[in-house]
Symmetry: C2
Subunit: 256 residues, 2 copies
Amino acid sequence: MILRDCLNFVLLEPSHAGNIGSAARALKVMGFRHLSVVAPRESDPAHHPEAIAFASRASDVLEGLQVFGTLEQALAESQLNIAVSAEGREFGPRMLTPEALASTLAELFSAQAEAAPPKRISLIFGTERTGLPISVVQRCHLLCAIPTEGEYNSLNLSQAVQVLAYVLARQVGQLRPPEPVRQAAARHEHWADDASTEAFYAHLERTLVSIGFLDPAAPRKLMPRLRRLFSRARLTNKEIDILRGILSQATPSNRP
Amino acid sequence: MILRDCLNFVLLEPSHAGNIGSAARALKVMGFRHLSVVAPRESDPAHHPEAIAFASRASDVLEGLQVFGTLEQALAESQLNIAVSAEGREFGPRMLTPEALASTLAELFSAQAEAAPPKRISLIFGTERTGLPISVVQRCHLLCAIPTEGEYNSLNLSQAVQVLAYVLARQVGQLRPPEPVRQAAARHEHWADDASTEAFYAHLERTLVSIGFLDPAAPRKLMPRLRRLFSRARLTNKEIDILRGILSQATPSNRP
């Protein structure tokens, strides 16, 4: 599977069905095909007349639109989450240009990567009016901002989709996972998906509370800081197994 | 301070004083000045006639040579350790070309980095005959291999120093830390030095033993795996404080 087919464009709570249609078209012209929406205002946006009109001949992408109730559901199988936002956030991931994002994706598809190339990658776009909330940015591995000139830096939602689709299609769309790779570890390890990763964070948080390190009444920035650390590393399944094993063993009630 | 002045070239157990002199010259011509040796065969290599001869007009670099008894001492203040080796190792860091290494260094000097640019960076070269031992590669954040053609891939020690000095001087030597950076976190965080990082790993290992997760008699690959995870992330001082706080709290004897 080439990189292009691993990418899912996820629109969070889009208000306008027309934007969903435009996004479908933007993807189609660049050879992408996976589009998802989370909690859209219109309950069945793929069949909304405006979406159909704006999608033009990208009706297959629009027909394939996946609609999710929550972001957790949309990301469950995603192994790499990329927030698209013009703003950096405290304890959020480092901000990349689209070109730098392409380079990072290329690294994950190289024979030198620590684990097999991700099969599911999510590019997450915020709402038309308010962008992405900080909690979403903090749960992403990477953050991509589209450079603009001057003070007005807010692209229309489907325009932002178009720019990312263009740069990624040009630079890395055709990349294939490498032939069996040199490092034994990479052959056997896989990046953890979002559901496993979130389950790890929940386990980590419970454990920190149970050992008295985290006060739920005054959590400070502890979890965002720990999320940022592990997001920088990107966790493999095997690493999550190890870390959860440690957490279980560290929990007082689990020890003899 | 520009990036060039942050780089320390560390030669592990070099056998030939002439190589140390050649390395000094290789650095000098590219504008670098920090050269260290760990446990050299000659006890005072800076004043060995062969070293002086090969250093030619790089006598200032040779005079500034630092001699350490152990790698730990040589790296104590280093915030980023880069192994130079033609071979990848299990649970070692991802292998980079010199050019890719330059890009990674540039990222750490960008305003988008998660912490302030490192002030001390170590490039570690192995012995003439056997290269770097696996334990050294596993304690490094990054691994750099010089691409070669054909089957014979072993550069002379000082030639390897010259290639790295050339590429890094050309691509990133002049980089300066950015003006006060955008993300608040980056202003206040600093990459942990090697001494703090090793103290964390020692603490982690003790804790894993004390909670019964790690059997010292059968350690398997647990510590190398955990080192790789945290090396990928590169730890900041603040993160090490948090992680060690968690470890202390997780240790049975420290809990009420």
